[in-house]
Amino acid sequence: MLKKQRILESLHEIAKTRSFDRILVSYHGSNTWVTKFANQRISQNLKEENAEIFIKVVNKNRVGVSATNTLHKDDLQKALSHAVNISKVAPENPALTKFAKPALPKKIKTYFEETLKFSLLDKAEMIKDAFDRTAKRKLTLSGTIITNVDEMAVVSSDGIKTYQPFSAMSCKFIPTDGKNTGFASALSRDINKIDFDGTLELAIEKCLQNKNQEDLELGKYDCILEPDAVAEILEWLGYIGFGAKRVMERTSFLTANLGRKIMGGNITIYDDGLNPDGFALPFDYEGNPRKKIALIEKGVAKDFVLDNHYGYLYKKSSSGHGLSPGEIEGPLPLNLAMEKGDKTLDEMKKSLKKGILITRFHYVNGFLNPREALMTGLTRDGTFLIENGKIKKALKNLRFTQSILEAFSKVVSISKERKLVGDPAQNIGACLCPALFIKDFKFTGKTSNS
């Protein structure tokens, strides 16, 4: 199934062309199988093929970029011709001309054959079993099971030649009684690390607890964010603040704060594309090996991620966080992780005298005031009032509006368990997140489930 040889040969064929100064060719291809179910039936069952081959050509200080989606010679030649033509007339911009130097990325196993052996029939049988189990509890089930294979390669006229295959599998279960829902999910590159039964059982338990939802007076509450909720916030922090472009444009919460304490001393956030327990990505789309970057260390704003372009502007080397040549978002962290704590999630719940347990968030938005990391969003699929360490009742979904810098300065405890959260059909990276016990989280709105 993997096409290593064909990919590298095709990319090399283009990269050896010499009608310009330098060239970089990046490949990211994937095959994704998504089985989506709802109302006790498979509602969508598909295989999606995709590939993006970017060609970046440098002529003196002029750059041209093009892309195609196949390795066919004619398509690649046409794309090359687009890039060359652009590079002849584009204005000079030396900041865009920097290429990675050849370097060997760290060897990490990211492809597990067994994950891709999980067939359509295996999926159907698993879903049938899940339907039976939810039906016994008088629930119906929605969700997805996704298997995915990605291949990335970068070849350049400067001598870069890298290739890496990736496998991934995820399951997501949302049981419902027709009115209320539960949620649980699992993600891994290795199918053997996914506990389907445990994940389903957790989702069912959540749904059964999520009945007779009541309103809660708005205001500040201590709360426990489970890892899926933390992941959504971390992803937004990565997008609005941890990339060099946002810092340089002075819109990031890191701007003017590097070296200063902006979160609690118990918060350490980093990006680590080399962690085999994460969703490892040994190199970026420019062929640079990824470095582990401490972004927040014991609450102190420490660093941000770089690609070749912003490395040039900051007079530093790339940290290996470059996106495809056609992107203008600048470098982004794709493997965010928060350092784990020393409590179990159960211990954290027991230590909560009165507060809210949040399963996950929906539609978080971090554009309100990025310098303060002010975000808003809603709870979803299980929001519970805890009193004296026990779930007292289910709550209707709540809207929070909260500065995350402030919230992450009030973290009482962090779970020792961490969960990998991501969507393998959408992103090649994922977040590694613990649960957080946060004091005085602001809830500013509520909604009705009826």
């Binding site: 865009l96 999926k123 040549p325």
Partner: protein
């Protein structure tokens, strides 16, 4: 190629499918982006391939390939059947499609100037000119200008005999100024925020956008916002400009009328909807002034086409009539479930994606006031323009939107500006408080190029036409 695809349809018929369709799509796009005095990205991207969807013994299967040779296409067709067969192990209820006629037809975007034939230096000159104006003020730290163009060819065939060719052209762009002062930064965008305003037109649309005039305006506003007050928290009258109304329509009307999410099929990601079937024809969604249509025939809209991606002819359907909820966006499958015909809203975002229910152009019909009358009629309120942030719950009831800039309204006149304005509400309460909609002279079609839905996520281009509108008793600040 057409013969190969016809043969693939024959093969699928021979294999006994209930129904099948094939979409061959080629998409060419050009992006030109400049920042301050440098070109940040100039690129041309092209992709093509085939998506095959089959309904086999009442179950769907979908497969795609970018290998446009007979053997690979036939292989993808047979793989789609195998995928459908695996669903057959479980599904007791078989999919039924609402009837649709076989169609042989063509559709093409009307345009004057092909943007792909316009020299690059002309595009760059235009963007650098706008950025130069933005950069004239010392507080403007970042000036950005972008243009983007899309040319899409779609060929559709199905086992019912339809053969439809469509050619689309989209053009647009935006400029953005980021002003900074100490710890403060403020952004203003023109003509819209979030990376583009597109229209189904040629390069002539770029000229209409008038980046140069827009640059003068947003430069001043971005700088003024640096010293502006935060909007006070209060319940007041709000007038939203048409671009913010576009997103309000998108999130609080466009998404909840998607019949797949109404019927629970999108519960695992996008969520559900408060507009459940028993409300159809009975539920008072808004005040009597509110008339909303799904119009896939509107000129220039990004949701305009001849036929949707399962071959249903473009319609104009009433969604909200004098405030009453009367219509959904549907497919042949979902329409059959409620005993209706498809409203023609099945769209796929790319060749390798299966069609799902998407917005077309969801438009608020104009009222009869002028914007000046709406403002002069308001004793105490705020006027907000250009979206900055958006959030809404999974049933599409509780929303919160932020705008780039707001003006105080005092005794019928615009006053001081406010930074970081936000308003929040509950969808039906909000629309029922609509007390005025500006007339057709203020009505504008907005192209939203980043509507995300589906698993895997499909980002599609949709349209929203609206005039500015006035809403009462809205929580702001």
């Amino acid at each position: 190629m057409q013969e190969i695809l016809k043969d693939a349809i024959k093969l699928l018929r021979k294999k006994g499918v209930d129904y099948a369709d094939i979409r061959k799509i080629r998409h060419l796009r050009e992006n030109v982006a400049v920042k301050n005095d440098a070109a940040e990205n100039i690129s041309i991207e092209e992709e093509h391939g085939i998506g095959i969807r089959v309904l086999y013994k009442g179950c769907w299967g979908f497969c795609s390939t970018s290998d446009l040779i007979e053997e690979k296409i036939n292989h993808a067709a047979l793989e789609a059947i195998e995928i459908a067969k695996s669903s057959n192990l479980i599904n007791k209820q078989k999919v039924k499609l609402s009837p649709a006629p076989a169609v042989v037809d063509k559709f093409k975007t009307n345009y004057e100037v092909d943007p792909f034939q316009v020299p690059l230096d002309k595009k760059l000159d235009y963007l650098f000119w706008a950025c130069q104006i933005l950069n004239e003020h010392e507080n403007i730290r970042t000036a950005v200008g972008c243009l983007e163009f899309h040319k899409i060819h779609k060929l559709f065939l199905n086992t019912e005999g339809s053969h439809i060719e469509q050619d689309f052209l989209e053009s647009g762009g935006y400029i953005e100024a980021t002003a900074t002062l100490g710890d403060e930064f403020q952004k203003r965008s023109y003509p819209n925020s979030h990376s583009s305003q597109l229209s189904q037109e040629g390069f002539e649309y770029v000229k209409k956008m008038d980046f140069v005039g827009g640059a003068e305006k947003i430069k001043k506003e971005a700088v003024a916002l640096l010293r502006a007050k935060e909007m006070p928290k209060k319940i007041t009258t709000v007038i939203l400009d048409s671009s913010q109304m576009a997103l309000q329509i998108h999130e609080s009307c466009g998404h909840p009328i998607e019949l797949d999410r109404v019927l629970g099929d999108e519960l695992s990601f996008a969520g559900s909807s408060f507009l459940t079937p028993e409300k159809l024809g009975k539920f008072r969604y808004g005040s009597k002034l509110v008339n909303i249509v799904a119009d896939a025939t509107a000129p220039g809209g990004l949701g305009t086409f001849g036929y949707d991606d399962e071959g249903t002819k473009a319609h104009k359907n009433q969604i909200i009539k004098n405030g009453l909820f009367v219509g959904y966006l549907s497919s042949r499958e979902t329409a059959a479930k409620i005993g209706h015909k498809s409203t023609g809203a099945m769209r796929c975002a790319a060749w390798n994606m299966t069609p799902i229910i998407r917005m077309t152009n969801i438009n608020l019909e104009p009222g009869d006031a002028t914007l000046e009358e709406l403002i002069s009629d308001t004793k105490d309120g705020v006027f907000m323009t250009t979206n900055k942030s958006w959030s809404i719950d999974e049933r599409r009831l509780n929303f919160q939107f932020g705008a780039e800039i707001a003006w105080e309204i005092k005794n019928g006149k615009l006053g001081q500006i406010y930074k970081n304005p936000v308003y929040t509400g509950i969808t039906p309460e909000f629309w029922n408080s609509c007390s005025g909609i500006a007339n057709k002279n203020y009505w504008q079609m907005w192209g939203v190029p980043n509507c995300a839905k589906g698993e895997p996520i499909q980002v599609i281009h949709v349209g929203h036409g609206s005039s500015p509108a006035r809403l009462e008793k809205v929580q702001v600040g």
